[in-house]
């Protein structure tokens, strides 16, 4: 009985963990964060500046063309995906700020807010 309970817990835990790598971070974003508007959406320089930051800090994992890639046993997500396309600017900003630490996505809160918005502008320009 105990063994069954342990196995069930492990399976459920594993499923929850696997789910986290499947965009479950989206469920953690509050409505307020989700509705946040990109203050640089109309800034003509934001895409180029975001691309610059992307090339240095994001491309090593997500690839130069943001198409994602395998690293060891881990797949780093494709930023051209439908999930990213449908995500609001606020959701992407939330992800950059908080990361998804259990899934290998670091927090980029050390970058000033405007730089994070520049990256969001660049990622959105891919679609």
């Amino acid at each position: 009985m105990k063994l069954t309970a342990v196995i069930t817990c492990l399976l459920l835990g594993g499923m929850a963990f696997a789910g986290a790598g499947d965009g479950s971070w989206l469920r953690k974003v509050s409505e307020k964060d989700r509705a946040r508007l990109n203050p640089l959406a109309n800034d003509p320089d934001a895409i180029a500046a975001g691309a610059k930051i992307y090339a240095e800090h994001c491309a090593p994992c997500h690839g130069d063309n943001a198409e994602g890639k395998m690293q060891g046993r881990h797949y780093r997500p494709n930023l051209h995906s439908r999930r990213v396309k449908e995500a609001t600017a606020g959701e992407l900003f939330w992800l950059l700020t908080n990361g998804s630490l259990r899934n290998g996505m670091p927090s980029w809160s050390r970058f000033p807010k405007l730089e994070r918005w520049q990256v969001v502008t660049y990622v959105k320009s891919l679609h």
């Binding site: 500046a49 690293q71 060891g72 700020t97 259990r102 290998g104 670091p106 927090s107 000033p112 730089e115």
Partner: protein, 292 residues
């Protein structure tokens, strides 16, 4: 005499910095804003950061020295960073010696960004008592510790715990570290603190590639010192330092930090000069395995 000491420190600092620049291609950009204080910034998963953190000084009554801690920092995953430090030093009129190693782990218990972000730090160190890398000040550490001769054979085996609290707000980082260190011999707990703040010169990246853009530079300051021991807790009979920091992160290149450090009381060394050269290798093991 004092002028001689100042000149000696400057000379050692310049020579060491030039030596660091000379090894530029071998060193590979890093994220640490401080020399002593830790923020909640973890190493990115899979990345290896190599850093040479040096401090030069000419303690009164002792010989001028340059001590370097060679740091290897690896991001095990998003919430766990492991580090190895190899310490060594050159002391004029004495010798150049390897003084020991430190192994540390930092764990971030909260998975999201908060106003204050805690990180738990665990370290084991096996060092020569004469080690002058000065990566923390604890207990009743004073400038007398900086004049111990390299040949001193006494070994220190210590465990160190830190509570790291750190916040990012409007481009500013503010970090506070509370340190508790215990010699694995018969000595009591020693305590220390480190506070740091820093901010990049620009809060928005420029659209053009440039090495000298303002966003690549940051200014900051650190304040650190001892808090005595378990039975003599307090700010007295120990040393305290204040240190402005200038940082330059060269895009796709190394990071460079300078920090003139000033002693704040008679137990502190009057002046120390710190400098650091660091580089980060993305996805280190993937590169080693040739899968990239």
């Amino acid at each position: 005499m004092r002028r001689f000491r100042f000149r000696a420190v400057c000379r050692i600092a310049v020579l060491s910095f030039c030596a660091g620049l000379g090894s530029w291609p071998a060193l590979l950009q890093a994220q640490e804003s401080y020399f002593v204080t830790y923020s909640h910034q973890m190493e990115e998963p899979g990345n290896l950061e190599i850093a040479a953190k040096s401090v030069a000084g000419a303690p009164k009554g002792g010989n001028p020295f340059v001590a370097t801690a060679l740091e290897f920092e690896y991001g095990v995953n998003g919430w766990w960073t492991a580090e190895l430090y190899l310490d060594g030093q050159t002391t004029i009129h004495e010798s150049t010696v390897f003084t020991g190693f430190r192994v540390e782990n930092r764990i971030r218990p909260l998975m999201r960004e908060h106003w204050i972000n805690p990180v738990l730090y665990f370290e084991f160190e096996d060092l020569n008592a004469a080690d002058k890398a000065l990566l923390e000040v604890v207990g009743h550490d004073t400038r007398e510790d900086l004049i111990l001769r390299n040949s001193r054979a006494e070994k220190e085996h210590e465990a160190e715990l830190k509570l790291i609290l750190s916040s990012n707000f409007e481009g500013w980082n503010v970090s506070e570290n509370f340190i508790a260190e215990k010699d694995l011999g018969p000595f009591s707990w020693e305590f220390g603190y480190a506070l740091g703040t820093s901010r990049p010169l620009a809060l928005k990246a420029s659209p053009n590639a440039c090495n000298f853009c303002r966003e690549n530079f940051a200014l900051g300051a650190e304040l650190y010192g001892g808090l005595g021991e378990r039975h003599s807790f307090g700010l007295s009979e120990t040393s305290h330092y204040i240190a402005p920091i200038v940082s330059w992160d060269i895009p796709r290149g190394p990071s460079i930090r300078f920090s003139p450090t000033f002693g704040l009381n008679r137990n502190s060394n009057g002046f120390l000069f710190r400098f650091m050269l660091s580089y980060e290798i993305d996805q280190f093991f993937s590169r080693v395995r040739g899968r990239q």
